[in-house]
């Protein structure tokens, strides 16, 4: 029972992490029909920039004030939103009408640039660092003799709040309506007076801010931040991407569902089947999904826009 509860908790936290990242892939795909391969690097950036901000504000050690974590979180999300805005503006917008393959290659280029620039001494450097705690070390509560730490609760609660907020934005606001219209047809949306470029920019900023939230929470939970080109970051992004595809890319609810499913398979696969092969299960699910339900769990089969 203890083990089961423990795995369930792990599934929830990991699923939340994947969901935050998967939403960025799905938002951008939903609106522009392309996979932003540099998205996982925005997650990395978010985590590292949070580390830098915490240091700059003097919260690198223990005993930081209670508001340290929200302040660092908001600043990191804002910085990443600015990064997302810049990437779209400089790298992707000039290619808006170019073939998708060109954009894809550009995205890989942007990803490599961020990974390598991050290692510069002036930025984050080449050595792994320890993320400051920012949250209390004491467990918040106990379920079936499993201690639930603050960071896990923060991860799940914040993710749920952000997902609800995003869902509200997309389906209940004028901006969300414009996002969905642009997603269907940029040109027709423009003919209706929708400022398409602005809507695309905002979408990138939202996706990047969510990515940063994922990156910061990752740092707070696992504590170690590897250098920006480390494969670990890529694997994190890749699994979130798998979650977005499994859930139905372009679908907000699907991304969350896919994230929880992928986390469940990874955690319970490692816990009950084999601790050596969790990634194999994750990518196995991807392959099965692509074979039998290529549109994903909640995706609707649509003809690819060319």
């Amino acid at each position: 029972m203890t083990k089961f509860v423990q795995l369930l908790l792990q599934t929830l936290t990991l699923g939340s992490l994947y969901a935050l990242i998967a939403l960025g892939y799905t938002l951008v795909y939903g609106i522009l029909r392309f996979i932003n391969f540099a998205h996982s690097d925005v997650v990395t950036f978010g985590a590292w920039v949070a580390f830098a901000i915490a240091g700059a504000l003097g919260w690198a050690g223990t005993g930081s004030p209670v508001f340290a974590m929200p302040v660092v979180m908001i600043l990191a999300m804002a910085a990443s939103a600015a990064l997302g805005f810049t990437i779209e503006r400089l790298a992707y917008r000039p290619l808006r009408k170019a073939p998708r393959l060109n954009v894809l290659i550009t995205a890989i280029g942007v990803s490599l640039l961020l990974q390598n620039a991050g290692q510069l001494h002036a930025l984050f450097g080449k050595d792994p660092v320890k993320m400051p705690r920012l949250l209390s070390e004491a467990p918040l509560f106990k379920v079936a003799s499993v201690q639930v730490p603050w960071v896990d609760v923060a991860l799940v609660v914040l993710t749920v709040a952000l997902v609800i907020g995003l869902q509200w934005l997309v389906f209940r606001t004028k901006l969300g309506q414009a996002m969905r219209a642009v997603s269907w047809s940029e040109q027709t949306a423009a003919l209706m007076g929708v400022p398409v470029d602005k809507v695309v920019s905002i979408t990138f900023m939202i996706g990047s801010a969510l990515a940063a939230a994922g990156g910061v929470l990752y740092g707070l939970k696992y504590r170690q931040l590897n250098q920006t080109a480390d494969a670990l970051w890529m694997l994190l992004g890749l699994k979130a991407f798998v979650a977005a595809v499994v859930g139905g890319i372009g679908n907000v609810r699907g991304a969350v569902l896919g994230a929880v499913l992928i986390a469940f398979i990874e955690v319970f696969g490692a816990g009950y089947v084999s601790s050596k092969l969790p990634d194999l299960f994750v990518f196995g699910v991807l392959i099965v999904m692509l074979l039998f339900r290529p549109a994903g769990l909640l995706g609707t089969a649509t003809v690819e826009k060319v």
Partner: protein, 238 residues
Amino acid sequence: MTALLEVDNLHVAYGGIQALRGVSFAVEEGQVITLIGANGAGKTTTLRAISGLVKPTQGNVRFAGKSLLGVAPHRIVARGLSHAPEGRGIFANLSVEENLDIGAYLRTDKAGIAKDREHALTLFPRLRERLQQNAGTLSGGEQQMLAIARALLARPRLLLLDEPSLGLAPQIVALIFQIVKQIAKEGTTILLVEQNAHMALKVADVGHVLEVGTLVKTGPASELAADDAIRKAYLGVH
């Protein structure tokens, strides 16, 4: 007095293909102008150049005295020009109601929007019964009604309509044209592109005939409808 819309020596090329080769015409406020021509003549291209979707290589478009060159499409809407595109361009992932909302995207006058929405739904009562329905599930005729209603919600001074009769049964076409007439009577200036020259010349004041990128004939609609060459080429009379 200058015309509401002035199209002056418009040239448009798609890559190597020259689609428009110097098209000039004017639309006076309160008129219904029609642009007729065969497939590929450049009718859609003319409208797309006016509403900023394609950049002309040469020439100018002026609306209410101001040039539209280099103005982004959504800013052109803000100036009072609304374009119901060829193929209707319904947002099939949105409800009928949301499609109408998007039509009024740039407006902030809540009361005015509500009034115009009410009016559009009076013109097209079928839409009222289907407000919550996904717009993608509407019939072709209903989608065309929605496209026109949505364009009207921007409260345009000039309405561009690209082949509203496309793929519709004769009865629906008659209904749509009747409403186009009504909209014109209420004071909206209309530039109507049609392959259905017969219907178009019935509602229009002035007609222009476009052939491979140039205007070959211009005149009062009734005269064009009586013109032998036009009757042969576009009205299926032999």
